[in-house]
């Protein structure tokens, strides 16, 4: 499948901003059944400086500095991506989760692909006993890791309420878990916290969903904005598998991966600081069209 993605981020400020420094993680990655065909980013006003590097997780990261006074900032990102993933069936057999955990603990790499980077707490995902206990109900002794994760994802989908008004980025995980509501980001964080509590390597994935569903299928939640889900390392054989707890589906060809990290703080598509204005308004528009 080939998708054309348009992702427009607009900030408007109450008073003029004299200086702005941002990190952009807007280029979809290649690999794992996904190939970037083309990508452009247009920024208004024009930055004084643009530098590109790949961060620790391999994400294409562009640092921009704007030094001219401005009242709005518009970042227009366009990408073409082809996706072709093979995903196991929900009920496919898999290794016992304890075995996967022990293999992960013995890891001899600190690289971004190594499971060991994803079993510990991270800035936005604490490991907390109640969340671990919640997750452990899906992982009885000796259960297959795939079955356990599918069950946990399903429970989050059915037991948590999707409510874009209920949380903001800074809402702590405890509150999301206690009140059982939130958005894709919250559900991903809860699932990651539960899996890590059990010692399982879980990563946070940011990306997009196709806007118009395939014929006869329902429109997915989160299709008009950036989306987030979970990647779980399921052992040497299966490797990293995507779980979308917001929609209760395994990640296949409707998902386009933008970036992978430990939690939202590692992958935030647009992040930065401004000098000059206290008040700001943010608008994000995402369109994902199937080309063929």
């Amino acid at each position: 499948m080939i998708y054309d993605i348009r992702h427009v981020t607009s900030y408007s400020y109450e008073s003029p901003v004299s200086y702005s420094r941002c990190s952009l993680r807007l280029e979809p990655r290649s690999g794992d059944g996904q190939q970037l065909v083309s990508h452009t980013v247009e920024i208004r006003p024009r930055p004084a400086d643009r530098t590109v590097r790949h961060d620790f997780f391999g994400t294409h990261t562009e640092s921009i500095v704007i030094e001219t006074s401005h009242r709005s900032l518009r970042i227009d990102s366009r990408s073409r991506v082809s996706v072709s993933r093979r995903v196991p069936a929900r009920d496919a057999p898999s290794r016992p989760w304890e075995e996967v955990r022990d293999v992960a603990f013995e890891s001899t790499s600190l690289g971004p692909e190594s499971p060991i980077g994803y079993v510990f707490v991270s800035p936005l995902v604490p490991v907390q006993q109640p969340v671990t206990a919640y997750a452990s109900l899906s992982f009885p002794k000796g259960a297959g890791i795939l079955a356990g994760a599918v069950d946990l994802m399903h429970r989050i989908r059915t037991e948590f309420r999707y409510d874009p008004k209920a949380t903001v980025i800074s809402t702590p995980l405890e509150e999301v878990f206690e009140k059982r509501h939130g958005v894709c980001q919250d559900f991903a964080h809860v699932m990651i916290a539960g899996l890590r509590g059990l010692g399982l390597p879980a990563a946070y994935v940011s990306g997009y969903l196709r806007t118009i569903p395939p014929p006869g299928k329902p429109r997915l939640q989160g299709a008009d904005a950036t989306h987030a889900w979970v990647a779980l390392w399921c052992g040497e054989g299966l490797g990293w598998i995507g779980f979308d707890p917001t929609n209760d589906i395994l990640v296949e060809n409707d998902h386009i991966v933008l970036a992978v990290g430990r939690d939202f703080s590692d992958v935030s598509p647009v992040d930065g600081i401004i000098v000059g204005s206290r008040k700001q308004k943010l608008a994000v528009a995402v369109d994902v069209l199937l080309v063929e």
């Binding site: 981020t9 900030y11 004299s18 200086y19 702005s20 420094r21 941002c22 990190s23 590097r53 961060d55 620790f56 997780f57 640092s63 603990f105 013995e106 890891s107 001899t108 790499s109 600190l110 190594s114 060991i116 980077g117 079993v119 510990f120 707490v121 800035p123 490991v127 006993q129 874009p164 980025i169 800074s170 958005v183 894709c184 980001q185 509590g197 059990l198 010692g199 904005a225 950036t226 987030a228 939202f264 703080s265 935030s268 598509p269 647009v270 992040d271 930065g272 600081i273 401004i274 000098v275 000059g276 204005s277 206290r278 700001q280 943010l282 994000v284």
Partner: protein, 841 residues
């Protein structure tokens, strides 16, 4: 057993010889000194005999009379109090006075050499390991360190992986907490590689104790610590890529537990004390915001933890760092001491791997053992810990407490059955998060306790600085003495006390400091730059103190008239005006106005009224706290004394006036100290400007209130008192106070140091001496306003002044003060603190 033997052997040694009274006291102290069973002691050796260094010390000590000893202890305590040596216990908001043990910890030079060798080797090793971890990564790839033991640390900074540390080093300063184990050897209890604290306190402890016991200190041949700090400073200086580099000490700010130490070190080392807000990224470099614009900073000695250093790349919620700092480091734009991410070596999980790493890198065994540690991320270790759970202290593998159990160490034997079970499950499930450590009872050292000495366990922090010639160790260190028998959890919050550490040599030590050669130092007259925030604080310090003085003058006038004017109703309207002014200034309550005594008392020391003299002096004190490195100890002491005096309860109306009088004298002495002792290039100008601006505003206000168009002679009389011009007026005019002459003297006379014109002229001089920030030759706003005001005051005649023009003058002065603030200090109401962009879901 051993203790008993020890006591007897000392008794025996002092028999038969001629016993001086001092020696008799030494023997008495030793007899009363009961060692804790089974625990080694610094004073009394394993063989039961006192160690030679301690005997030497106590004999010299005993030559002082008991009264003399108490007097010297008192002097030491007074110095600490007056110098304001403080720390803060975690979670507390009030500063605590520094609890200094009056006896130093003595370490014999031979013993110290061994310890030093162990620390140097360890520092070298840790630097090599860091180089590999953030560089090639062979240790993990080859299994010499399990990946999990690194990945679990929040100090493992992924954003600096592969980044070469600017200046070439990860560690510029390293510290190890050590204690003497039951076998009599020194053991490392933990490594401090992030931003070790305590060196500044060690310096202060040395200063206090060596002053209190000058001749004793000299006679003991104690190694000096100054050379260590010089080596450290020179090494940081050499790490920059230009001569005469600018070095900053990055502090989290005045709320930090160890802020006092940051100020001490900055002052002692000659570094600029900066907060994140003082710094800005421009180009590929870090700069300080100064009153002369952005100035390049070359080296940053940081006391802010790695994760708070850059809200753009690390903890996004941090306000302590500098957005873009990590990117500057990536581009080799600033030397960091220590390099962000160095803290990963503090993880206890790594301890068990160091012996084999030492073998691998250095080809030798570790010279100094560390506390035996089993990391439960490995199966064999985990099973051993679970099997003998009660024999270990359980700690977090990476430092932040014990996950799920709060602050460590956790002793399983002391847990309830269910908690113990929970701990076992936690270790079985996520062993990677826990270590088991051997339970060690550390050695004890004597503390002074009401004329006796008693043994207490201690932990010693030893500091090492990287130099071009290898690691150099501070001879001495930061010693914390526990008030409980178990020393493993000694932190300054637990009622512990600090002690100076004397490394004692048999031979006389060199007392000369290492002065650099004549050729290497260029003569400089300007003491670096003034950061905008410091200038801002100095300006406000000047304003607060001047406002306090005006308030005290008002309340003194009111109090004196109240006494003198009993039965004379004519002074009442003028006094009404004084009272009203005090109420408007927030020094007294509206409801108190029927009772002048109450107004006077409130204006002096009300805690609730923000404008009382007490509140103003406290505001000055708070402001001065963040200027510690720029104020002389004397100046700080004056402020402390004022705030203490004003807080003390006064008995009667006379007491109020006396307190006001004394405080006015202290304010004058502060002004004198500033005038005589502050370097003119180091921000003195801003203190002066604050004082001048505030005095101009207050004097104009007084003139409007008491020299209004219909003013009677009592009003004018009060005004002359308030602005301290009675004598000048009387010497100049042989008539009672008249409106035009008084207005001239108080507002226009350029020779009267209390007049408005004098203040404006002084402000003009200061502004003219400050650098201009913008090019183009246009006159800047503060100067434009000040010049215009001065011209107006110079050309105005007293006869043309009236209430209306006086009011306009006051408004112009307020505008000038604001203009100075917003021009030189970016921290005013139009703050340019960077805001986070709202993120995306």
């Amino acid at each position: 057993m051993a203790g008993r033997d020890g006591r007897e052997s000392i008794g025996a040694s002092s028999q038969g010889t001629r016993v001086r009274p001092g020696n008799r006291r030494v023997a008495q102290w030793a007899r009363d000194y009961v060692r804790l069973p089974g625990i080694p002691d610094e004073y009394i050796g394993q063989d039961g005999a006192p160690r030679a260094v301690w005997t030497r010390f106590f004999e010299a000590f005993a030559s002082l009379s008991p009264a003399d000893i108490e007097r010297r202890f008192g002097a030491a305590d007074r110095h600490l109090r007056e110098a304001g040596v403080t720390y803060r216990a975690p979670g507390e908001t009030a500063d605590r006075l520094w609890p200094l043990s009056h006896l130093p910890l003595l370490i014999d030079e031979a013993d110290w050499q061994q310890l030093t060798a162990g620390i140097v080797q360890r520092a070298e090793l840790l630097e090599l390991v860091l180089n590999d971890l953030y560089g090639e990564g062979r240790l993990v790839a080859e299994g010499a360190i399990p990946a999990a033991a690194i990945a679990g640390s929040t100090e493992y900074l992924r954003s600096v992986c592969g980044v070469k540390p600017p200046g070439g080093r990860y560690l510029s300063i390293y510290a190890a907490d050590v204690g003497r184990g039951p076998d009599g050897r020194w053991w490392v209890l933990g490594d401090r590689t992030q931003a070790p604290s305590g060196a500044g306190y060690a310096l202060e402890n040395r200063l206090v104790l060596s002053r209190a016991f000058t001749s004793l200190y000299k006679s003991m041949n104690v190694e000096r610590v100054a050379t260590f700090f010089e080596a450290f400073r020179d090494s940081l200086r050499a790490s920059a890529d230009r001569d005469e580099p600018r070095i900053g000490l990055l502090t989290p700010g005045t709320f930090s537990e160890t802020y006092f130490e940051h100020a001490t070190l900055a002052r002692y080392l000659g570094f600029l004390l900066v907060e994140g807000d003082d710094l800005a990224v421009s180009g590929d470099r870090i700069h300080i915001r100064t009153v002369a614009g952005l100035k390049r900073l070359d080296v940053l000695l940081r006391r802010v933890d790695s994760n708070s250093l850059d809200p753009l790349e690390l903890d996004a919620s941090s306000q302590l760092g500098v957005p873009g700092l990590i990117d500057v480091i990536r581009k080799n734009g600033v030397v960091m001491a220590n390099m962000p991410g160095s803290g990963v070596m503090e993880a206890r999980a790594l301890l068990g791997f160091l012996p084999s790493l030492s073998e691998r890198f250095l080809g030798e065994d570790l010279k100094m053992p560390h506390i035996a540690t089993w990391w439960c991320g490995q199966k064999a270790a985990r099973e051993e810990v679970l099997a003998r759970l009660d024999e270990f202290a359980i700690e977090g593998a990476y430092g932040r407490g014990v996950p799920g159990f709060g602050r460590g160490p956790i002793l399983a034997a002391e847990l309830s059955a269910s908690e113990r079970e929970r701990l076992k499950t936690a270790i079985s499930d996520r062993g990677i998060d826990y270590v088991g450590q051997e339970l060690v009872r550390l050695s004890t050292t004597p503390v002074w306790d009401n004329g006796h000495i008693t043994p207490r366990p201690f932990v010693l922090r030893v500091f090492a600085a990287a130099t071009a010639d290898g690691w150099t160790i501070m001879p001495g260190g930061f010693c914390r003495i526990a008030d409980q028998p178990d020393a493993r959890a000694v932190s300054m919050g637990d009622g512990a006390r600090a002690a100076d550490v004397w490394v004692v040599s048999d031979k006389a030590v060199s007392t000369a400091t290492l002065l650099p050669g004549v050729d290497t130092v260029r003569i400089r007259r300007i003491a670096g730059v003034v950061p905008s925030r410091a200038a801002d604080n100095l300006f406000w310090l000047g304003r607060y103190l001047e406002r306090a003085e005006a308030t005290l003058r008002l309340l003194r006038a009111l109090g004196m008239q109240r006494d003198a004017g009993k039965g004379s109703p004519t002074v009442l309207p003028a006094m009404e005006r004084v009272q009203r002014l005090l109420v408007i200034w927030g020094a007294a309550s509206q409801t108190s106005r029927a009772h002048p005594s109450k107004v006077v008392a409130e204006a002096l020391q009300s805690e609730e009224k923000f404008g009382s003299a007490l509140s103003l002096v406290r505001s000055a004190q708070r402001t001065a706290t963040s200027l510690r490195e720029r104020l002389s100890p004397d100046a700080w002491q004056v402020i402390t004394e004022m705030s203490e005096r004003l807080a003390r309860e006064v008995e009667d109306d006379d007491g109020v006036l006396i307190a006001a009088e004394l405080t006015l004298q202290e304010l004058a002495s502060f002004a004198g100290l500033a005038q005589e002792n502050m370097n003119r290039a180091a921000g003195w100008r801003f203190l002066e400007m604050g004082r001048r601006a505030e005095r101009a505003i207050n004097t104009a206000r007084f003139a409007r209130q008491f020299a209004y168009d219909e003013a009677v002679s009592e009003d004018l009389d009060i005004l002359l008192t308030l602005v301290d011009c009675q004598i000048t007026y009387r010497s100049r005019y042989l008539v009672g106070p008249l409106l035009a002459p008084v207005r001239d003297l108080v507002v226009l006379d350029p020779y009267n140091p209390r007049s408005v014109a004098f203040q404006v002229s002084a402000l003009n001089d200061h502004i003219a001496s400050l650098p201009t920030l913008k090019e183009g030759g246009l006159i800047e706003r503060p100067q434009r306003l000040a010049v215009a005001l001065q011209a107006m005051l110079t050309t105005t005649e007293a006869a043309s002044l009236d209430t209306k023009t006086l009011f306009a003058l006051e408004q112009d002065l307020l505008t000038l003060a604001d203009a100075i603030g917003s021009h030189y200090f970016p921290h005013g109401p139009n703050a340019s603190r960077p805001e986070k962009l709202t993120g995306l879901a």
